[in-house]
Symmetry: C2
Amino acid sequence: MHRLRKPYLLFLGDVQDKLTAKTAFGLKDWCADDVVGEWSLPGCSITLGLERLSPAAAAQRGAGSIIVGIAPTGGKLPPHWIAELKAAADAGLDVVSGLHTRLTSFPELVQAAARRGVRLIDVRHSDAAFGAASGRKRGGKRVLTVGTDCALGKKYTALALAKNLRSRGITATFRATGQTGIMICGEGIAIDAVIADFLAGAAEQLSPDNAADHWDVIEGQGSLFHPAYAGVTLGLLHGSQPDAIVLCHDPQRRTIDEYPDFPLPALQVVIDDYLRAGRLTNAAIRCVGLSINSSSLSDADCSAYFARLTAELGLPVCDPVRTGVDALAEALLAP
Amino acid sequence: MHRLRKPYLLFLGDVQDKLTAKTAFGLKDWCADDVVGEWSLPGCSITLGLERLSPAAAAQRGAGSIIVGIAPTGGKLPPHWIAELKAAADAGLDVVSGLHTRLTSFPELVQAAARRGVRLIDVRHSDAAFGAASGRKRGGKRVLTVGTDCALGKKYTALALAKNLRSRGITATFRATGQTGIMICGEGIAIDAVIADFLAGAAEQLSPDNAADHWDVIEGQGSLFHPAYAGVTLGLLHGSQPDAIVLCHDPQRRTIDEYPDFPLPALQVVIDDYLRAGRLTNAAIRCVGLSINSSSLSDADCSAYFARLTAELGLPVCDPVRTGVDALAEALLAP
C-alpha cells in the first residue's frame, strides 16, 4: 500500500500542454488544501495558477513530497528533469511519480534520497507483498464504481460520491486503485500493477474491516468487457465485496476504446453481468445508479438521454460534473 | 516466457515423502524421455526409480538442467541444498526451481552461475515483460481446461488431451501456465505470477498465431468461482480465446478448497458462466466435455455418476486416468 506524505509541491517539468499535465490539474481540483504550490523548469508554458515555489522553499513551508504530475506519451521520465527532482530530495521532500520509468532507475536520485532519508515512490508500480484473498466478509459498507470501459469517469465518480456522502455526515473513505487517485488521497494500491495471484487479496487489504455504518467508496478499474483488463476488474470486484456498484458510461463510446472490434453491450447486460460476478463475494450486491460522462451532449439531448435510461433501467442517472451525485448518494443510503 | 534446457536431472534434496516430491514424480510420468536420472542428498528416503547421477555425471550425459522437483510446505528452498545446486551450476547445468524462494537470492549460486554461464530459472516467478492484450483473433485452434476449483486435474487433462490428439496425427501443443507444466514441456508462463495488467496479454503470447489445423491445448488456472483467483482465470480465458473448453471437476469437492463458505455451483451454471465470459474474445466458444477426477468413486458409482452427468449436461464425460480422453478428443474434432 502506498502512503504519501502531504502536502505536495506539484512539478510540471517543461511540458507545453495541459493534457500532459492532467494529473497535476486533477490534484489541484481534488486536494487543493494539500498543495503548497507548483514548480516547473524553464520552458514550461503552462501553469496551475498556484504560487511558484522552489523545492527548498516548499520544504520550508512544510511540503512533504514533490509530485511529478505529468503523463508524457510513453510514460517515460525525461532525464533532464532528474537534477530538479534530486534538488527536491536534497531539500527533504519525498519524490513521487506516476510514470512507467521508475525513479529508482536513476542512481543519482537513489543516492540523494538515501543521503537525505527521503523516499522515492513510484505509484504506478506495486512492490508491496500482498496475500491471497480470504473471501471473508468484512465489517462496514462498500460501493465500487464500475464501467462499460476504461477512462470514462470511475475515479471522478468515486471522488464525488465520497465527498457527497461526507457532506451528509456519513463517514466515507475514497479508496484509490490507480496512480492519480493514490496521489489525490495520499494512499492506495495501483491494483493493475499487483501480481495476478494477489489481485483480490490486494483489494481486500485496500478496504479493511470498518465500522458498520462506514462507507468505502472504491475507485474501479478497467471493465468486465475489456479484452485486456477484465481480469483486473473481476479481481477488484471480488476483493472489494461491494454492497453496491455505480455503473459509469460515456454515451459516445460504442466500442471499447482502441479496440474497435469489441462493441459495448446494452447497459442492462452490463449491469446484470457485474451483479452476477459480484454475487460470488457479496450476495446482496445491487446497482444503485448510473454515472454518465455527458460532456458530448447538449442540455436537451442530455435530459432526453437521462430520461430514457431511467425509464429503461429503473435506476437513478446522473453526471457528476453536470448534475452532481445526490441521486447516487440517496439511492445508496435508501433503506 | 520461460524456456528450459532439456534433458533434466531431477533433484530430490533430502525429502522423506513422495507427496513433497510430487513435481519430480509428475516429470517422470509426463516427460520420461527428457530425464537422464535422479540425484539426492544423504538422508533422502525416496527414489523415482531412475539411475542415480551426480550433477557432473549428468552433465557428461548431456543434461541441460537440474530440476528442484520438490514442493516443501511453505515453498522455501532449504539453504543446505545450495551447495549441491552450486555444484550443478559448476558442472554446467541450468538450475530450475518452482519454489517461492528465488534461486537468485543466494549470492554464491548467482556467482557460480555467472562464472559458468548457466541460468538460474525460477519458474514460479515471471520476470518477463508482457504487453497488454490486443484482443486480435489469432490463427489456429485452442482448447482451454477450466475448473470448478483449483487442483482437480486441469494440467493432467490438458497433457492427456494434447497427447491423445497427437496420437491421432493432429498437430497439438500443450501450453503450460503453471510451474510443473512448464517443467514438463520445457516452456510456458506462470500466469498467476504476471502483473495483473498483462494477464490476458501474457496468455495471448503463450499461444501465438498458428496453422489453421493446429491445436493449442492450454492448461487452465484457478476457477471463475474462486474468491481469490477468478481474476487470473478470466484473464487467461480472454487471452486464450479458446474455441473449446473442457470442464474439470472432482465430485468430492462441494465447496472451494480451503474456502468452506464458497459452495460450488451446479455444473450447468459453471459451464454457462465460462461460456458467457469466453464469448468476449471468441463468439464460437463451446464446451466439449467434462474431465472428472473420479478417484474417490467405486467403478459402479463412477458409471452411475458419468451416466447422470451425460444425461443432465448432454456432453461427453471422462476421467483421464480411468477412461482416457478419447471422448474429449472426438468431441473436439467433431465437425
